[in-house]
Amino acid sequence: MGPLIPNGIIPIEWDSIIAIFIGIVFGFVLESSGFSSSRKLAGVFYGYDFAVLKVFFTAAAVSVIGLYYMDYLGYLDINQLYVHPTYLWGAIIGGVIMGVGFVSGGFCPGTSLCAVAIGKLDAWIYVGGIMIGVFLFSELYSFFEPIYNGYFLGNITLIDSFGWNPYWVIFIFSIIAIVAFAVSDMVRKKVKKVFY
């Protein structure tokens, strides 16, 4: 039963090799979806290209449905999976800062790596910027430490936070995603085309 490496079904020595292979497929899919182009990515914020919204929410819906389905079928124990921890204000403040960075730079870290790989110089500068940002955070760690370590709610899921049934959460999330796709197509027809 999965996850395979933590349960010792695949030896831990394979971990790094698997990491590279997963990375290759991840990078290939992102680049092929057009995520190496900052102008395509930024389109989601101006309504001329909703690829980010469609790829991102399709991926989220497919993965959450798949993981819970595998749990249901007994291939995977969902409780063994790593749940990103919730530090309430860290998640919000960090996210707000990242949002400004996204619309200013036109990339997020994963997509900037794809653009680096195909020679976009703006992405090289962007990655340099990320490293400066990490450096600033580390040097000013004592200043950021209260929000970084504070307001810790645990490795909680929406199920723990609200007591909802996971299957209903997933169903409603999928409906929201489909509605968002339909709305985005209507918006795109109204917005002036940008060629890039």
């Binding site: 490496i5 971990d15 990491a19 590279i20 292979f21 997963i22 990375g23 290759i24 497929v25 991840f26 990078g27 290939f28 899919v29 992102l30 092929s32 979806s33 190496s36 930024a42 101006y46 991102f56 399709t58 989220a60 497919v62 993965s63 798949g66 291939y75 995977l76 969902i78 790593y82 990103h84 919730t86 998640a91 919000i92 960090g94 996210g95 707000v96 800062i97 990242m98 949002g99 960075g101 996204f102 200013s104 730079g105 036109g106 997020c108 870290p109 790989a117 020679g119 976009k120 703006d122 500068i125 962007y126 910027g129 940002g133 600033l136 955070f137 950021f144 909680i156 723990d160 936070s161």
Partner: protein, 176 residues
């Protein structure tokens, strides 16, 4: 090959197809490793490594770097660094197959490439800072978090898109 048959390098996959495959990769990653994907982690490891090489005592005394430094192992020997190397290879293959590999600065014709680079640097700095505060970026916190219904993952995703839409107006000259 006649020019008619030559592929347009700006034609990308259908976004639903790309998103579906990305979802499958996330399922596969969780199934194998019990964890999700990430991207900013590799850049953090790089910064830690550089600082540790340049100023080892400073890195050891800093409460943040020292979390990731151990005597036996390099901070580069982590899952996320190998995954990021894979991302570079995978994107290079995809870009190569579609004729998209070229040294260039991509920007709107309405702005200069210097302006584009300044905003890219600024955006990178902000994203790097924010990704540390939220303990992950769009891949690690938002996407992989949402795959297991993490409350923090949803919160970070809403904050990223909310603030990007809220501030998009001020950056519009760069894009449209």
């Amino acid at each position: 090959m006649s020019s008619k048959n030559k592929k347009n390098s700006h034609v990308y996959w259908n976004p639903y197809y790309g998103g579906f495959l990305l979802g499958i990769i996330i399922i596969f990653t969780f199934y194998l490793t019990g964890r999700g994907l990430g991207a900013s982690g590799a850049m953090k490891s790089s910064v830690v490594t550089i600082v540790d090489k340049v100023a080892p005592t400073h890195a050891e005394n800093n409460a943040y770097y020292s979390k990731f430094i151990s005597k036996e192992d390099s901070p580069m020997n982590t899952w996320l660094v190998f995954e990021a190397l894979g991302v570079l290879i995978g994107a290079f293959i995809s870009g190569g197959l579609n004729g998209r590999i070229k040294w260039r600065v991509q920007h709107s014709p309405k702005i200069s490439s210097n302006r584009r680079l300044v905003f890219a640097l600024l955006g990178g700095i902000l994203f790097g800072l924010g990704a540390q505060i939220a303990r992950g970026c769009t891949s690690g916190a938002a996407l992989s978090g949402m795959a297991v219904l993490s409350s923090g993952g949803f919160l970070t995703m809403l904050a990223i898109f909310g603030s990007a839409y809220a501030t998009a107006y001020f950056f519009r000259k760069n894009w449209i």
